[in-house]
C-alpha cells in the first residue's frame, strides 16, 4: 500500500483543535516552494461570457439577488432568515485583535468566524445595500490584506483554516467589487492570487514543509473540500482581472474538481458518518455552484449532490436534534447551522418536494433548544434553500433506505417524532467508491492507493436502535479508541474486527477491503417490512462466517439473526449490545430488557442453538468531546458454530419466540398477538448470496429472500 501519511492521525487531531501553531514555521523555505510564475496553460477553462468582468457573480449576480429578494420576502423561512441576518449585520463591527486575528492562527476560528459568521455579511449587503455592511466587509478585506499569512501555522497558508479564510475573502471581494477603490481592488486581487498560488503549490502540490500530507491522498477527504471551496472563491473572483493570468490555475482547478466528482459516491453519503458528512458537504456544494456558474462546468449534475440529504434525514434520531450514526459522530445534540442548510441543495437540484419537506421538518427539530436560546437561520439558507420546491410531504418518504456505497441502511416504523429507528451497517472501511479508487489508482509505489478511513469504526454488522428519541442500543460516540467491543456486533475470543484499536483507523493493507465486509441481501417492501443482511466473517481471526440478518416488521417486531461459523476450532463468540442500562428478566427463556434514564424501554428475547451465557457489564464509550459510561449485554458461547436469534419488541406487543434446529435449518416461531409467524432460516449457499430466509403467517408469505434480493455493492 502507498502510505505517505501513516501518521496523519496525529496531525489530523492537531488540525481540528487548531493547535498546530506551536511548531516552528520556516517561512522562507516554505515560500520557496511557490514558483515565481506558473506554467502556460494548455487548455484553460474560460469564464462564461455573461459573467466576464461582472461582479458579484460567484453565488449570484446583482440581478439574480434582486429577483430572489422578492421570493425571499414572500417565503416564511427566508424572510425570517433575512430579518435575523440584516439585524445582525447592521450591528457587526470588526473587533481588532492583536497581534494577529485568531482566524489566521487556528482552524476553529476560521471555521466559525470566517465562514459560519462573516460570510453572512455577503448576503446582508446583497439584500440590503447597506453602506454600513459594505464598510464592514471592506474592513475585513483590509484586515486580510494586512495579514502576511492567512494561515500562520506549520501548514503555511494551506491548511483547512486557510481554505475557510479564502472562501470568506473571495466571496467578500466579489460582493463589494464594484464599491472598491481601484487601487485597493488591485491590491486585493493580487493578494487573492498570492493565496491561491500558495494553496496550490504548498497544499495541492504538497510543497509545505514538515507537515503530513493527510488530505491530498484521496478524493473524499472533506478537509480537501474546504480548501477547494476557498480556491474557487478566490480564483474565480479574480480570474479576469487585468494583469492576472489565471489560465494554468483554472486548468488545475478543473482537473481537481473533475477528480473529486469522478469519485464522489452517487449517494452523496459519507463513510465517516452523518456528522462528518455535514462537516464537508457545504464546501463540496458551494464549490460546485461557483465553478458551474463562472466556468460553465456541470458539477451540479453529480447525483451525490442531489442525494446527500438522505444520510442526514435517515440517520437523524426521530424527534431529537441528534444523529444516530456510525463512524466518528458524537450523536449528541447539535443545533441547526450553516452546515445543515447546505443539504437543501438536494431538493433544489432534484425538485424532490418530499425531501425538502423532510429537511424543513428536521430544521424545526434542530432549532428547538431546551434552554430556549434562539437558533438562527444561517446565511447558507440563501445559497441552498429554494422556496419554490413546495407541496412535499416528508411522511411520504419510504421508511427504509439503503446506502449502498456504505453498506448501510436505516429503517423506521414511521416519520413521526416518536418513531422507532434501527440502523445497520456492513461495508468496507471507506465505502465502495473510495475503495474503488484505492484499487484502481495505484499509489506512487505501484500498490493500492492510500485512502483516509480515519473516522471509520470496526463495527461491521453492527446495529443501533432508538425509540422516541431514546437510544436503546446506542450508536456509539466519536471514539479515539475504536474497538469492536464497544459496538453492538460480535467479538471472537474477546477480540474485534481487523485494524481495531486505533484512535484513527488505518486501511487494512494488502487486501481489497470490499472483500472483507459487505451486504448480501437487501429487500424492502411498500409496507415497510425490510430485510438487510451482512457478511463480516473475514474481519475476524478464527471465523469463516459472520452472517447477520436483520428483519424489521414495523409495528410488529424485529429480528436480529446471527449465523456464525468458526475455522473449525471452538472460539468464544460474544454477542454484544450496548445500552444505557439493562437487566435480565427471565434468562431461561432468553428475556431481557434495555432501558434509559428518560423512561425508554425495549424488551428483547435472546435464544441460541448452543448453550450460552449472559452477562451485563460496564461498557465505556469514550468520546472525543465527552465520554459515557454505558452497560452492555454480552451473550457468549464457546463453539465452532452458533445461531443467535434476538427478538426485539420496540412496540410493546409482547411477542414470544421459540427456536428449533433440524439438519442445519433453524426454525423460529414467533407468536405475536393472535398470530404465529414461522421463519425458516437455512444456511447460506455461499459467502455472497442472501440466506434464503422465508417468513410465513397462516400459510402466507411475510417476507422471503431470494437470489434476486442480493444487495448491491456500491451505489453505481
Amino acid at each position: 500500500m502507498s502510505t505517505p501519511n501513516k501518521f496523519a492521525i496525529a496531525t489530523l487531531s492537531l488540525l481540528l483543535t487548531g493547535s498546530a501553531t506551536f511548531a516552528a514555521v520556516d517561512y522562507q523555505a516554505d515560500l520557496a516552494k511557490v514558483p515565481a510564475a506558473d506554467p502556460a496553460a494548455a487548455d484553460a477553462p474560460q469564464i462564461v461570457p455573461a459573467l466576464r468582468g461582472k461582479h458579484p457573480r460567484l453565488l449570484f449576480t446583482a440581478k439574480e439577488i434582486a429577483d430572489e429578494s422578492k421570493a425571499i420576502d414572500a417565503d416564511p423561512i427566508l424572510s425570517k432568515a433575512k430579518t435575523a441576518l440584516l439585524t445582525w449585520a447592521e450591528r457587526y463591527k470588526l473587533q481588532p485583535e492583536s497581534p494577529k486575528p485568531q482566524i489566521v492562527l487556528n482552524d476553529t476560528a476560521a471555521l466559525t468566524t470566517s465562514v459560519n459568521q462573516n460570510v453572512g455579511l455577503v448576503y446582508a449587503y446583497a439584500l440590503s445595500h447597506s453602506p454600513k455592511v459594505r464598510d464592514s466587509i471592506i474592513s475585513i478585506l483590509k484586515m486580510m490584506l494586512d495579514q502576511p499569512y492567512w494561515a500562520d501555522t506549520v501548514e503555511l497558508d494551506s491548511n483547512m483554516g486557510a481554505g475557510n479564510n479564502m472562501l470568506m475573502v473571495g466571496l467578500m471581494f466579489d460582493a463589494v467589487y464594484n464599491d472598491l477603490d481601484p487601487q485597493l481592488r488591485h491590491q486585493l486581487a493580487e493578494k487573492l492570487l498570492t493565496h491561491v498560488r500558495r494553496m496550490h503549490y504548498l497544499g495541492f502540490k504538497e510543497g509545505a514543509i514538515g507537515v503530513v500530507k493527510y488530505w491530498q491522498q484521496d478524493p473524499q477527504n472533506n478537509h480537501r473540500w474546504h480548501r477547494n471551496a476557498g480556491m474557487a472563491a478566490c480564483l474565480l473572483a479574480i480570474a479576469d482581472e487585468p494583469g492576472i493570468d489565471a489560465g494554468y490555475l483554472l486548468e488545475e482547478r478543473k482537473k481537481e474538481i473533475d477528480f473529486i466528482h469522478r469519485w464522489y459516491p452517487q449517494d452523496g453519503d459519507c463513510h465517516e458518518g452523518a456528522g462528518y458528512q455535514q462537516f464537508g458537504f457545504l464546501y463540496q456544494a458551494i464549490n460546485a455552484i461557483m465553478m458551474d456558474r463562472v466556468l460553465g462546468t456541470h458539477y451540479l449534475e453529480s447525483p451525490g449532490l442531489k442525494n446527500a440529504w438522505a444520510q442526514q434525514i435517515y440517520f437523524g434520531t426521530p424527534g431529537k436534534p441528534t444523529d444516530q450514526s456510525f463512524g466518528d459522530d458524537m450523536n449528541g445534540d447539535a443545533w441547526f447551522g450553516h452546515l445543515d442548510a447546505a443539504f437543501f441543495i438536494g431538493p433544489k437540484l432534484s425538485r424532490d418536494a418530499n425531501a425538502q419537506a423532510a429537511l424543513v421538518h428536521r430544521m424545526g427539530i434542530k432549532q428547538k433548544r431546551p434552554d430556549s436560546r434562539p437558533v438562527g437561520y444561517p446565511w447558507s439558507m440563501f445559497t441552498f434553500y429554494d422556496p419554490t420546491v413546495k407541496g412535499g410531504d416528508y411522511k411520504k418518504l419510504p421508511t427504509a433506505r439503503l446506502f449502498a456505497d456504505l453498506g448501510a441502511a436505516s429503517m423506521r416504523d414511521s416519520w413521526e417524532d416518536d418513531a422507532a429507528l434501527l440502523t445497520f451497517k456492513c461495508g468496507p472501511y471507506g465505502g465502495y467508491k473510495l475503495n474503488e479508487y484505492a484499487e484502481a489508482v495505484p499509489g506512487t509505489d505501484g500498490k493500492k492507493h492510500y485512502v483516509n478511513v480515519a473516522h471509520d469504526d470496526p463495527d461491521q454488522n453492527g446495529f443501533s436502535l432508538s425509540v422516541a428519541g431514546d437510544f436503546i442500543f446506542h450508536p456509539g460516540l466519536y471514539s479515539l479508541n475504536k474497538r469492536t467491543e464497544s459496538a453492538s456486533t460480535i467479538t471472537v475470543d474477546g477480540k474485534g474486527q481487523r485494524n481495531e484499536g486505533s484512535d484513527f483507523t488505518q486501511p487494512i493493507p494488502d487486501v481489497d477491503m470490499r472483500t472483507l465486509a459487505y451486504l448480501t441481501a437487501w429487500k424492502t417492501e411498500a409496507n415497510g417490512n425490510t430485510v438487510i443482511e451482512g457478511e463480516a466473517g473475514k474481519l475476524y481471526n478464527g471465523l469463516k462466517q459472520f452472517r447477520r440478518t436483520v428483519i424489521w416488521l414495523p409495528g410488529q417486531y424485529g429480528l436480529i439473526l446471527d449465523n456464525v461459523r468458526t475455522d473449525g476450532s471452538p472460539h468464544t463468540i460474544t454477542w454484544r449490545g450496548t445500552v444505557e442500562k439493562g437487566d435480565f428478566d427471565k434468562p431461561e427463556d432468553g428475556w431481557c430488557h434495555a432501558y434509559t434514564r428518560s423512561g425508554g424501554r425495549v424488551d428483547f428475547q435472546m435464544l441460541a442453538d448452543q448453550k450460552f451465557t449472559g452477562a451485563i457489564d460496564f461498557c465505556y464509550l469514550d468520546g472525543r468531546f465527552g465520554s459515557q459510561l454505558m452497560q452492555q449485554f454480552q451473550f457468549a458461547a464457546k463453539t465452532d458454530a452458533v445461531h443467535y436469534a434476538c427478538l426485539l419488541d420496540p412496540w410493546k406487543k409482547k411477542p414470544e419466540m421459540t427456536l428449533a434446529s433440524k439438519d442445519g435449518v433453524v426454525t423460529l416461531t414467533v407468536k405475536n398477538g393472535g398470530q404465529t409467524d414461522t421463519w425458516t432460516w437455512p444456511e447460506p449457499t455461499d459467502a455472497d448470496s442472501p440466506t434464503m430466509i422465508v417468513g410465513e403467517r397462516a400459510g402466507q408469505p411475510i417476507l422471503k429472500l431470494t437470489a434476486a434480493d442480493k444487495a448491491p455493492r456500491g451505489a453505481d
Binding site: G590, R597, L607, A608, T613, A615, S661
Partner: protein, 214 residues
C-alpha cells in the same frame, strides 16, 4: 454443515427435549450482572474521619491539594494552566502500598464538586460553568504514570458533575486498559490540562471517602 450431536439438550428452565436430529432453543445462564447485588468493599483507601493511611499531598501550581477541617481532601484548581495535584499513601492495616487495579471491579468515591469558571468576553466576565466541569479522577502507578481518567459526569445519571455529596461507583475499566500498567497503583489525583486564555477556573473537588470494591 455442522452435524448436531445426539445429546440430551437441556433448557435452563428445566424443560427438555430429546432428539437425534433436532434441537430446541436455549435460554442462557447468567454469569454476571452489574445491576444485581451490592458492591463488596475490599478496603477503604481514604476516609475523612480517619487518619490512616497516612497521606502525602502534592500540590502543583494551579492545583493545590489539602485536607479540610472535617478531614476531606480538597483539590483546588485555579487559573487556566495545567495542574497535576496528587495524593499518595503509605501502607497501613489492610491498605496496601500499591494495588493492582485489575483485582477490583471499581471504586466507591464519595465526592462533590464546587466552584465556577469565569470567562472573559471582551470587557465582560461571566460565570460559564457548565453541568459537566470536565474534571477527571486519575489513578497513578508507581512509575508516576496516569493509567486512566474517569470523569464523574460520564457516570452520573444526569450526566452532570455532582454538586451535592454523592457516592459514585467508578468501574475499574477506566483504569485497566491495553498499553497502561495498572498493576501497581500508588496515587490518585485530579489533573487538568491548560485551558483557553480567556478562561479562569476556580474549582474544588471535595473527596470524603474512597473505597476499593471487589
Amino acid at each position: 454443515m455442522r452435524a448436531l450431536k445426539p445429546t440430551l439438550i437441556r433448557r435452563a428452565a428445566g424443560a427438555c427435549c430429546l432428539t437425534l436430529t433436532a434441537a430446541c432453543a436455549f435460554g442462557f445462564d447468567v454469569v454476571k450482572n452489574i445491576n444485581s447485588g451490592k458492591p463488596q468493599v475490599a478496603f477503604v483507601l481514604f476516609d475523612k474521619a480517619s487518619n490512616t493511611p497516612e497521606l502525602e499531598l502534592k500540590s502543583t501550581p494551579g492545583g493545590e491539594v489539602k485536607r479540610t477541617a472535617d478531614g476531606s481532601i480538597d483539590f483546588h484548581l485555579t487559573g487556566n494552566g495545567a495542574a497535576n495535584p496528587t495524593v499518595s499513601w503509605k501502607a497501613a492495616g489492610d491498605v496496601p502500598a500499591t494495588f493492582n487495579a485489575a483485582d477490583y471491579s471499581g471504586m466507591l468515591v464519595t465526592c462533590r464538586f464546587e466552584g465556577v469558571m469565569h470567562r472573559k468576553f471582551g470587557n465582560k466576565i461571566i460565570d460559564q460553568s457548565g453541568d459537566n466541569l470536565w474534571l477527571s479522577l486519575s489513578l497513578i502507578n508507581n512509575k508516576g504514570e496516569s493509567v486512566g481518567l474517569a470523569n464523574p459526569a460520564d457516570i452520573t445519571d444526569d450526566r452532570k458533575s455532582p454538586r451535592e455529596t454523592t457516592e459514585l461507583f467508578i468501574p475499574m475499566l477506566y483504569f485497566v486498559r491495553p498499553g497502561f500498567d495498572s498493576t501497581h497503583i500508588s496515587a490518585f489525583g485530579f489533573p487538568v490540562i491548560a485551558g483557553r486564555p480567556e478562561n479562569d477556573r476556580d474549582f474544588h473537588v471535595i473527596i470524603e471517602k474512597i473505597a476499593l470494591v471487589r
